[in-house]
Symmetry: C2
Subunit: 210 residues, 2 copies
DNA sequence: TAAATTAAGTGATGTAAATCACAAAATAAT
DNA sequence: ATTATTTTGTGATTTACATCACTTAATTTA
């Protein structure tokens, strides 16, 4: 735990803070597709992502989903922070896209560290900023892009987060993330393949052009 | 200035902080449609809204707009906070929807107050939370709602922010905010009128049902 | 008061995406 | 090996919204 913490966070946190995190943080390994946070959960702390990839989705009353953004190592879930501090509910669901490792930080420390460590204050503010910007990008793609552009962005974004050039997924799962239908995704994928940007296989999409 | 500050912020900030704000804050009155923050601005501080209503919009490369959310008294612009702290650029435009009053807080104080005042820390975190939630609502409406529902939400939201039961605006301006065409808005408005939810006039929309 | 400008109404048509219905592969289960 | 299940392909149809083209009404200005 300490090793990975130092690897990804030593440029972010001062040494004393890393020591404290090692003391109070709870290490947890997440299986692929494991739900880390669910709709309406009250957070007792926040997760620091050490390794892996987490998908953050929003769900409406009819149970329909839309992807908000992905988290990768070095990230934390700003929504959880909010929820943890204010004892409010979390409006999102967080699911491990692949096996991941996190450190869970108890909420009691969150405000205490705001006083003690400038690096922690920066990290919290910076995390909120990144998330606000991601949300704006999501709004941009919903408001300004057509399905084909959104799909291509989805594929390249996800490939980067997963650190792979091909994605192991189905057309149906992409449709769920993008809140559209499988038929639409299948047709647009075929089109992207004809344009030479991707190559389709069963349960797998190779991305040829980034 | 002190009077309104105490009226809307005395339950949020401790007395000492209000005193400091009065000392270093710069009061400013905004005319209707005045631009407070523009795309790519680097913020030298953040605005506290004392009175009025501010519209926050996002713009894409083609100059097309979409409304993100409104700010009302008691609010601050989380995007500016981010930009001010990190010296980064602001990805949004903020426009006064009506005559408004703000206090501009210099960025040097922002971090200093994080140490000194718990109420300030809470306010900053709380502001980010509110904004994250607003963005999620915006994403919800783009992803899950049809134009008619979005339009009705737009009208009722805006009426509440403006503290009026009728809005002085044109179909074209609504279309700009919602990133659609005037024709579409005109037709949907007529439909809402037939359903008895609103009443249409020239340059004015009465909202009959909230 | 006439002309110009701005706001709103409306028919016709185009188009991206949604939905339906079913076929054809590929893979997994028995 | 046969059956069942999952994944992908594809035509046909519908729908919401976009776009075009033009009219009518209200308001401003000259």
């Amino acid at each position: 735990m300490r090793e990975k913490l130092e690897k990804y966070y030593s440029f972010v946190f001062e040494k004393e803070l890393i020591d404290e995190i090692v003391q109070v943080g709870v290490y947890k390994k997440l299986r692929e597709n494991e739900i880390l946070v669910d709709l309406g959960d009250k957070m007792k702390g926040i997760p620091l992502l050490l390794e892996g990839a987490i998908k953050i989705v929003r769900e409406d009353k009819n149970g329909e989903e839309i992807l908000l953004y992905f988290l990768e190592r070095g990230d934390t879930c700003a929504s959880s922070f909010a929820s943890a501090i204010s004892n409010g509910k979390c409006g999102i669901r967080a699911i491990a896209e692949k096996e991941s490792e996190i450190i869970f930080l108890p909420k009691e420390k969150l405000d205490e560290w705001m006083l003690k460590y400038k690096s922690w204050r920066n990290f919290v503010i910076e995390s909120y900023n990144i998330r606000l910007n991601e949300m704006m990008e999501t709004i941009d793609s919903l408001a300004f892009m057509n399905m084909s552009e959104r799909l291509y962005k989805y594929l390249t974004d996800k490939a980067q987060i997963m650190r792979e050039t091909s994605l192991n997924t189905t057309h149906q799962n992409i449709a769920y993330d993008m809140h559209t239908s499988r038929v639409v995704i299948s047709r647009l994928l075929k089109q992207l393949e004809n344009e030479g940007k991707i190559k389709l296989h069963r349960n797998k999409i190779e991305i040829l052009e980034f």
